[in-house]
């Protein structure tokens, strides 16, 4: 290759590389721009009230947080996610059979959250329940615990 054609070739390759890099970086920047840096969504950890607010027996459904809070006389507090693991519909808890039923595609979860029927790929999540310093119960959705987890107050 002589000097002249080498120069031509390097201009071509260099130019093309620069163009691809510029387009790539721009596309990346656009994608990053579309991905929010801050989510103005409800916090993942929150207080839900005093232990005395929750009755024994059927679970209390927290509407905003989509969580069932169970209170058992012997074992204590536990919190199950009400979001179906299949496609995110809100499951219902039936007192009649103590199971969770998803209205969208018919998934049924046992009392411990495990899948009994339907297309759900995994069991319902159980979240850690702790007691804050002011005595209120606190749930952290980032901390998934086994279904046997209980908080005794």
């Amino acid at each position: 290759m002589d000097r002249r054609s080498f120069m031509k070739w390097s201009w071509g390759v260099g130019g093309l590389t620069a163009l691809i890099a510029a387009v790539g970086v721009s596309l990346g920047a656009v994608l990053r721009f579309l991905m929010p840096s801050v989510f103005y969504e409800p916090p993942q950890a929150f207080k839900i009230g005093n232990p005395g607010d929750f009755p024994f027996g059927p679970p209390t459904f927290l509407v905003e947080e989509k969580i069932f809070v169970f209170r058992d006389r012997e074992k204590g507090f536990s919190a199950a996610s009400a979001v179906c693991t299949h496609l995110g519909c809100t499951v219902n808890h039936f007192a009649s059979d103590q199971k969770f039923h998803c209205p969208c595609h018919g998934s049924v979860f046992a009392a411990d959250g495990s899948v009994q029927h339907g297309p759900a790929p995994r069991a319902l999540d159980w979240f850690e329940v702790t007691q804050a310093r002011d005595g209120q119960l606190r749930i952290d959705k980032n901390k998934v615990v086994p279904p046997s987890y209980r908080l005794m107050v």
């Binding site: 994608l31 579309l34 991905m35 929010p36 989510f39 103005y40 969504e41 459904f61 509407v63 905003e64 989509k66 009400a82 299949h86 496609l87 995110g88 519909c89 809100t90 499951v91 219902n92 039936f94 039923h101 998803c102 209205p103 969208c104 595609h105 018919g106 339907g118 297309p119 790929p121």
Partner: protein, 428 residues
């Protein structure tokens, strides 16, 4: 008077329509009409050849743009206002329910017509060479139509909208590797909320319509450049017989036939180049069957337009678009159903989210896209395409059955409930 005449002639520069030259100039000197050929073959205008499905789809899209822009004047895309604006449109705004109904029925109609149009093109074998690429453009337009319907579905912010989109976007979340991020990108968050509503609105009123307009232009352009509409099967010329060639033999030299120019016609010549055209050409003899687009084709198009608009208006008078209660993230309606054209997908998803929600639709779309390239059979005759026709019929049948099952046979908890059984109360 002279000035008026001058103004008119500066706008309309063609010869009078009583002349053939005027009829041609009407088409190719006009930016709106020049997508038509100056002359069309009679066989192409026959209703049963195309059922005018492409035109009807285009007209429905025009209705959607018109009514959509009108609806935009009363709609604010954030949760606190959206549902209230829908209620306003429903009960306060003059003709609000009628415009909403027109928008909704045109959207449904467009999904139906795009699909039927695709079936027509398939059964007449019109995706075959040289029209392969236009089929691909058509499939992308089908997907964009579904995307427009899906994004529009969320905007009323009622229970129906909220849960259909929750289910729909969660299906996307199952896509391997990028699923979760894709969903976050689409929703602008982790759940369907304020950010998702705004993003769906932007997609619905700006991004997707622009894409549809641009691709429709390409689609129509390619119809012309690929040689116009494909010929009806009954008019197809017999396929050329394969000739046996002796290797090493001197190739036969085909003498080009020359045709004397007709003195009664004007010929415009753009450029003289050598080589064969890539598109279908018509011979001078075939031109005898052609008539001027004005008025023959235009009258038929105008009739199709009027029939489409009248049809949509009539339906909208009697059937209004539904509006359920305000979106409630805590309470999923039972059963929660996607829009009907996605109910086949939901039916698949009820069996397996990954297989039914991601793999099956991806395979279906890919198969549609590559049809013109894997179908190597050059014949367009029905008799010679038994396999292709059978497979496509199966594809249509499976989709229809899934949609019918999802729509009419699924009750509370997605349990199999035939439509003639009435579930009282349901299980909450």
């Amino acid at each position: 008077m002279n000035l008026l005449q001058e103004i008119y002639q500066s706008i309309v520069r063609r010869d009078p329509l009583s002349t053939d030259k005027g009829k041609s100039e009407l088409v190719f000197l006009n930016v709106w009409l020049h997508i038509h050929p100056a002359k069309v073959k009679r066989e192409h205008m026959k209703f049963t050849h195309t059922f005018y499905l492409g035109f009807i789809t285009l007209f429905l899209f025009l209705i959607l743009i018109t009514t959509g822009v009108a609806l935009m004047c009363y709609y604010r895309p954030y949760p606190a206002a959206a549902y209230q604006d829908m209620k306003d449109l429903q009960f306060v705004v003059f003709m609000g329910p009628f415009l909403r109904a027109m928008h909704r029925w045109s959207a449904h109609g467009m999904v139906v017509c795009v699909f039927l149009h695709m079936c027509r093109v398939f059964y007449t074998g019109s995706y075959k060479k040289p029209r392969q690429f236009n089929w691909v453009v058509g499939v992308v337009l089908l997907l964009l139509t579904l995307g427009l319907s899906f994004t529009g579905y969320l905007l009323p912010w009622d229970q129906l909208a909220y849960w259909a989109i929750t289910v729909g976007t969660n299906i996307g979340g199952y896509a391997p590797l990028v699923g979760g991020q894709l969903r976050e990108l689409l929703l602008g968050g982790h759940t369907v909320g304020e950010a998702a509503l705004l993003r769906f609105y932007v997609l619905h009123v700006a991004v997707l319509p622009s894409a549809v307009i641009l691709l429709t232009m390409v689609h129509l352009w390619r119809v012309r450049k690929d040689g116009g509409l494909s010929r009806p099967l009954s008019k197809l010329k017999p396929e050329p017989q394969q000739k046996l060639v002796t290797i090493g033999a001197v190739p036969e030299i085909v003498q080009l036939k020359t045709q004397p120019a007709l003195s009664s016609k004007t010929y415009g010549l753009m450029e003289v180049v050598t080589g064969k055209p890539i598109f279908e050409t018509i011979s001078p003899e075939e031109e005898d069957d052609a008539v001027f687009s004005y008025p023959f084709a235009f009258v038929r198009e105008a009739l199709a337009l009027m029939a489409t608009v009248t049809g949509i208006m009539t339906i909208s008078l009697f059937f209004h678009a539904p509006l359920e209660e305000l979106a409630n993230p805590a309470k999923t309606p039972n059963p929660a159903k996607a829009p009907w054209y996605f109910l086949g997908l939901q039916e698949l998803v009820s069996h397996s989210a990954l297989l039914g929600g991601v793999v099956a639709p991806a395979v279906m779309v890919l198969a549609l896209l590559v049809i013109p390239y894997i179908d190597r059979n050059p014949s367009r005759q029905l008799k010679a395409r038994k396999w292709a026709l059978g497979l496509f019929a199966a594809f249509v049948a499976v989709n229809l059955i899934l949609i019918v099952v999802g729509t009419f046979f699924r009750g509370p908890g997605w349990a199999m409930v035939p439509p003639w059984v009435h579930v009282v109360g349901g299980t909450e």
